[in-house]
Amino acid sequence: MESIVFGIGITALTGALATVAGAAEDTESNIGSQGDPNSQVQLAPQMGFLHRIFNKAVAGEPPAYGLWCALGAGLAWAFMAMQINAVLAIVLGCILAVFVQGVYATTAYLGRTASLKKFGQPVYVDILKSMTTVTMAHAFVAIFCTVTLCYLMNAALGHPFPLPLLGLLWGIALGAAGSAVGNPYYGKERQYQNQKFGAGVPISASGNIVRYAEAGERNSLDNGFFTAKLGGPASGVCFGLIVFLELWRTILFEKIGAGWGAIIVGVLMILVFTIIDRYIEVWARKTYGPYAEPVKEASS
């Protein structure tokens, strides 16, 4: 009984850490403009729209976060193998991983912008100087929370995988969840804020991202507070639910039915989320209504 209570406590803590990590990850990737929305930042100068957005083209979020978290976890593991205290080891490991992340961000911005010479897009040194430290700060929060939750899974809950492998695994999952949820919010809502609300961006408007905004010329720091309104917390809730529910169903129901209990609970959870998703979809169709009249002729 005691071990289950301990397990639930750790599960709750990892769920909370995962939520913070997800929120920080999405905020960081939007301030740096990473992943699929970044193709618009790259395209805009080619269509004649020069801008002051940080063009951080470091792969996509899943592989990038896979690297930072695996690196942070690997360094933490190495420090712990040198008999350094666990908390200090994780902090030091994450600091070094964030240093690598910052360097990658700067080289990406310089490289992509210098290659857009033909279209006259300048390299803004002040953007480089002000944006890099902010993305590094958010990245540190995300990486630290992820490495800590990996450490808890390995040391407190007894997962067989060693720390760096767990870091790789959850880093990729963090990037995938944060990218899936946060990218459309940044891409459609913020980059194309000047388009009509409630509809996708028409293909004819590609590249025409918002460059002059609330107070003068928009830069990537302006995207930080916007993400923190909905995209960030939503990504956090997504990753937090993933980690929490995965651990919760294992800790509580693993012993029931020789493992089948956890499987059945998992299937039930999938059904619950399917119902929630269907409800959201139907709600949108009823409340928002169609864009045009329904197609009258008999459909296939």
Binding site: G35, P62, Q191, T250, E281, Y288, A292
Partner: protein, 277 residues
Amino acid sequence: MSAVAAKPAAGGAMNPTAMAVGVVLLLVILGICWRVSPGLGLMALIGMVVGGVLIGFGVHFVPVGGAPAAMGQAPGIATGVAMLAAGAGLAGLFGGAWAADQGLVVAVLTGAVGGGLMMAITCMMVNFIYVFGMGIPAASGKVLNDPITGDSQKEFKSQGTEGHGLPFVSFVGGVIGGILAGGGGTLIYLMILDVYKATLPTMMKATEAQIMPIAISAAGIFAIGIFLVNAVLTAYNITGTIEGPHDPKFKRWPRAIVASAVASALCGLAAILIVVM
């Protein structure tokens, strides 16, 4: 400005000779394994081929929209297909590896459910953001009616776009993809782990408990490597984006089965040769 060599328009066509060569390669690799290690090794290799095929097939179900999806121009999730599949599969592998002591069937199903659960949560939150954060309902661009619910799609597609969000068939596709990828990845991991647990103690002259870290870690990194190879091959097959099982591109899956089978067999053989040579 255009890519250098124009690719032939037959992107979706099958190449029968190549498929036959692929099948022959697969049999050759299985044969080599049979010579080297008939019992344990061959069973493990077949298991790895099945796992790889599950991954390759399952990734076809996952709805991926790429860069246009991030702007609400195309349905699907706005991430790369290989890494989204990797995220779901690895989340499944996490659960499956934990349940490894409870037998093969339970562990693989646990991994499958883990992958499916991650995709279910992610797809639900994607629709959440589209509907409540951006005011955009889900609509598919490839079919007039959703194959599962029968909802009409055309009038919910905003002007100038190919659709957006995750219609219900794409959601279901995502969950199925997560289930298959998670199960496949876990199966590969467990097969390699079994082989290593049986052979490493003699090879390294230590007890099973002592070599467990090596076995787990090596099996884990092999599983991740084979997983990524299969996911990238599938990404090549669908050329980057797919709306889900209702997308016409889905019909290309036979090619991916052959490619995944051969690639997994090859990598699996290498993993087995480490301990039986």
